[in-house]
Each structure stands twice: as C-alpha cells, then as structure tokens.
Symmetry: C2
Subunit: 263 residues, 2 copies
Amino acid sequence: MQTIGLIVAYDGTPFSGWQRQEGSRTIQGELENALSRINAMPTQVRGASRTDAGVHAEWQVAAFETPRNYAPERWVQAINATTPPEIMVRRAFVAPDFFQPRFASRGKHYRYLVWQGNFVPPHLVHRAARTRVLDVENMRRAAASLLGEHDFSAFRAIDCQAKSPVRTLTRLDISVSRPHFEYPCEDGGALIQFDVEGTAFLKQMVRIMVGTLIEFGTGRPSEEMAEILESRARVRAGQTAPACGLTLMRSFCDDAFGSVGSE
Amino acid sequence: MQTIGLIVAYDGTPFSGWQRQEGSRTIQGELENALSRINAMPTQVRGASRTDAGVHAEWQVAAFETPRNYAPERWVQAINATTPPEIMVRRAFVAPDFFQPRFASRGKHYRYLVWQGNFVPPHLVHRAARTRVLDVENMRRAAASLLGEHDFSAFRAIDCQAKSPVRTLTRLDISVSRPHFEYPCEDGGALIQFDVEGTAFLKQMVRIMVGTLIEFGTGRPSEEMAEILESRARVRAGQTAPACGLTLMRSFCDDAFGSVGSE
C-alpha cells in the first residue's frame, strides 16, 4: 500500500461541508466514493481542515492509501473524472506512509468576503456575506488587538472540542476593492476582503472574528476588542458570519512532507 | 400609467434564459411575477436582449408599465426584495412612455470566458467553457478578419429569424490572465477572455464566433477566417461555444432615453 497526498479545491455551495455524513453530499464523501471505485476497495480520505457546509477551499490538503501504483498525474485525471465538477484535485504526490494532513499542518490562510451594499451581486451570492457601509479604519484598529498569541475563548463555537483555546494569529488584513459596475448602495458598492492567517484555528474562529469586526465597522469603539479577548466570553463577541463568505485559501503542511503548500 | 426602465444583472445558471416560458424559471418570468405582485395587476416586462439558458448579464436593459408612482430607488428595493438573489436590479429610471429597450439599443458588449486547462476551476464551473492550450496570437490574427461590417450568415444559428445577416463588429479583443494558483494543465492553466462589441448581433453569433476562434487556437490557418465569412455557410464555421461562458456586459441604449448605459 502507498499513501497519496492531494491538493484539493472546491466550491462548497452544493455540499454539506467536508466531513462524511450518511445521506448528505460532502467533499470527503465524494472523494471517498470516487477513490473506493478507483481502488476497487473501501477507501478513507483524511483532510487537513474540516470545513463547514457552504465553505469553499482553494488549497485543502488530503491523503489516502491505495494498492495502485499510478503516477501522480494519473491520480489527478482519475479523481477529477469521477468527482462532481465543483471538486477539483490540483495536484497529487507520493506522501510518507500514513501521512496525516491534520498533524502535518503548520498554518492556514483563510479569506472572508463581505459585500458592502444593499444586495449581493448575482455572481457573488454564494461567495460573500452582505453588510451596510462599514468604517474600515475602525475595523483595522480593532483587528490589531487580535494579532499574536491569545486565549481566543471569546471567538470559538460553544461546542468547540479543542483542548487549549490559545492560538497565534499572524495576519489579519482588511482590503477594499471597488467593482467596475455600480450597485445599489449609498457608496456604489464595494467588496471587503479579510485575510486571516495563523498556526491553527478554533471552531468557527474566523467567522466569529469577522462577525465581530463588522460590529466595529458599524460603530463599536475599537478599544473594546481587547476587552472582548480578555473576557474570554463568547457572548461578548459578535455574531458568527455566514459560511458562504469563507474560503480556505491554503493549508500549509510541513516541508518534510513533499513540500506541500509551496507554489 | 408610467413606464419604468430597469438595469438588471443576473447569474443565468438557475434559469432557462431570459424569455418567459410556462413551467420554467426564466429571468423575464421572475421579473414579471415580482412586478405583477407589486403592481397588483398582470405586468409584462420587455428586455433589450433575449439571452439563452445559462447566459449571464451584468447590464441588461428592461422596461414595464405601472400605475404606481414610486421613486426609482423604491422600485430597486421592491423588485430585489421579491426576485431570487440571482437576479438584481441595479437601477430604475422613469422612461419615455412605452420605452422599447430592444429598439432603443444602439450596441452591445459581450464577454466570453474560456478556461485553458484540463478541468475548469470549481468557482468558474458555471462561468467558463474549457479548452486545451490555445495559440492566442493565431486567434487574434483570425479575429481581425471579423471586424467591421460583414454578412455574418456563417455565424448565425440555423433558426435565426433576423431579416438581414449584415452586422457591424466594432471590437473583438482576446486577453489572457494567469490565476494565482496552479491548475492541472501543461501550462499551469489560464483564463482567456473574449470581449466582443457591435451595433447588434445575430442569434448565437458570439458563441459561434468564439467556437470558431478556438479552432484557430488549435491550428486552423488564420487566412481561413475570411473564407468562412465569404462562404456565408454555417457549416464552415466552428461549433457553438457553451452558453455558460457568455455574459451580456452592457446593453447600450440611446442617450435620448434617460442616458441609459452611461456609468
């Protein structure tokens, strides 16, 4: 048996998240169905991140075992020919035996898109959440308090299973782009992009951080972000932003495992 | 009664095209359902372009009659609150009585997207057709023969109803952009964009032109484009490119009608 690693991209819209569930279409389930057929034996797939229903990915890392001795390019062809078009294997590679993407992960980059306008543009309906006009400078001031190593208890889902709530946030950039066309909105519409990087994340941490930052965009004083963090209380933070705005841009895996994550 | 003009954008994926059809979801049908409810009377909607099933629009022009005296912004709110999220009214305006967008149209800009790679990226599955690596320079040489006023009989659907096959093409630009991520393809993948403008178009003219240009991208000598045009024979041109790659970027209407089409 050989362990094969995969770099996978997907549009999360038609799926009930990464994790296999009986009776639901999931990304792990679709990959396992395809690989069980190709391998002619039941095949399990392990992923670096369990993305929620509706969350997208550009660079998820996954792995499985196989008795077949295919070249990496043949795996790319075979899997892409068998899975739905919303799932794409970018690259396959021979991995160390029983390679575990979750434990090899040394960091992740998530991107969250928010549409500032009265209605989300049709081509972004499943890609962006919606807000009214935001004070981006105030959001940036509040975001600065989140950088570095902190106890992120205020920014985790109530059912988060992680043993330690301490995580290190290395990047939280907020950028604004104006579309070519005007949209119904007092400022003509804009796309706001949150780029978040860290060594690891708690359950729904990015979506809770974005939902909280949006409150700072609509008037909450930026000093309060440090207080939310110190309180360690989920109720002090904002709402969880919708899943559809989130994309796992990159799951960085340890260089020892086939230089995964390098471009 | 007052005539109201609309600028409409839509993602064509879930619809059976613009034109109303019993038992199918169409853009005209969804707008007429919404407006009949708002007007509390049966309301017909006229459009500048009858886009095919799966074709998208950024700037379609439409019009309808109403007994209501709403301000333009109120029409934008009321229609967008009633139609599916894949349809968006950008702007409403008071139009001349019985304004006919089709006859007021003085030109159109279409964009066609082709993904050069083995598989279309998940987020572009409903936005781009797929091809292998193309010779863009040869396509540009062939495209030059199509500019200007010609009999475009070779580039019209067999059931096209237009009386004259003569049209004027004012722009046919082909541009290539490289995505941030690598994709399965010998050249790493690329997005090819065809920007086509003209005073008016025959049925499926843009899709047949793109399908033909792709043949020039895979080896047909560029001189043959002039021969196809002169032959006036649909069989000499290439296949009709898939609908999902096409977007109506702009329907330019006469300035006399409320400066529609100006940004």
